[in-house]
């Protein structure tokens, strides 16, 4: 990975943080300032139906590749439950190769893949194409979608 690629990615992440703050003024973000391989978001608001109004998120940033390559998964509070106390830990992916690293820190892992080539269209101008805001919209949808069958 070239230093130039890393610097570009970190610059891009810093630009995107500005737009994330504009849309979600209550969140706090931190990025991997060394390699640009993750972004950590706290106080991310989620839909009604959970035992908390907001969650922590850790999004893995493809490196090298972002923003041309979209994020493919995110981590969130492993101990989240439904409003009536049902645990969802069985829904987390237990076989992800980094599970041990983050699971021991209390994170649960969700895969949300962008489907097919051409479905992810970033632009050099952050708001002109897909960005982390697009991925956060997906995460928001995940937490809204309460009625889909849980079968694989």
């Amino acid at each position: 990975m070239s230093n130039l690629d890393t610097r570009r990615r970190i610059n891009r992440l810093n630009q995107e943080r500005i737009y994330i703050y504009r849309k979600y003024p209550t969140v706090e973000t931190a990025i991997d300032k060394t390699d640009g391989q993750w972004i950590h978001i706290t106080h991310f608001p989620i839909a009604h139906g959970w035992d908390r109004p907001e969650v922590e998120l850790l999004i893995d940033i493809p490196a090298p590749g972002y923003p041309d390559i979209p994020p493919q998964w995110f981590w969130t509070d492993r101990n989240i439950t439904t409003l009536d106390g049902r645990n969802i830990s069985q829904f987390f992916d237990h076989f992800f190769h980094n599970n041990e690293k983050y699971a021991s820190l209390g994170w649960g892992h969700f895969c949300v893949h962008i489907r097919g080539s051409g479905s992810w269209r970033p632009a050099s101008n952050v708001i002109g194409g897909h960005s982390l805001l697009s991925y956060l919209n997906l995460i928001s949808l995940v937490f809204r979608d309460q009625k889909r069958k849980s079968a694989a």
Binding site: K23, A47, G49, W50, P70, Q72, W73, I80, T82, L83, R86, I88, Q90, F91, F92, D93, H109, F110, C111, V112, H113, I114, R115, G116, G118, S119, W120, R121, I127, G128, G129, H130, S134, N137, L138, S140, L141, V142, F143, R144, D145, Q146, K147, R148, K149, S150, A152
Partner: protein, 88 residues
């Protein structure tokens, strides 16, 4: 031809959509056309008052009663996701 103006929440932001036609409800394509940064191929999901989430095809009118929408890139879910209505 009747003219309609409606307001909806799309990706948690208020959007005003004006349409001409027989239906007061816009199609998914018409909603997408009003969203800055929307990309061809993005998918529209409607959250119904019941809490159900419904995918709306481009040429379909949005479901009656839905006011809240998510416009997202085409995606698939690799791991099982928490669906409150069906958890054991």
């Amino acid at each position: 031809m009747p003219h309609y103006t409606q307001q909806y929440l799309v990706n948690d932001e208020l959007v005003t959509i004006s349409t001409d036609g027989a239906s007061s409800h816009p199609t998914a394509s018409q909603v997408k056309a009003c969203i800055p940064g929307a990309q061809p191929g993005d998918d529209l999901y409607a959250t119904l008052p019941t809490g159900d989430v419904l995918y709306v095809r481009d040429n379909e009118t949005i479901p009656a009663g839905a006011q809240d929408f998510q416009l997202v890139p085409k995606h698939e879910r690799g791991s099982l996701l928490p669906r409150l209505g069906t958890l054991a």
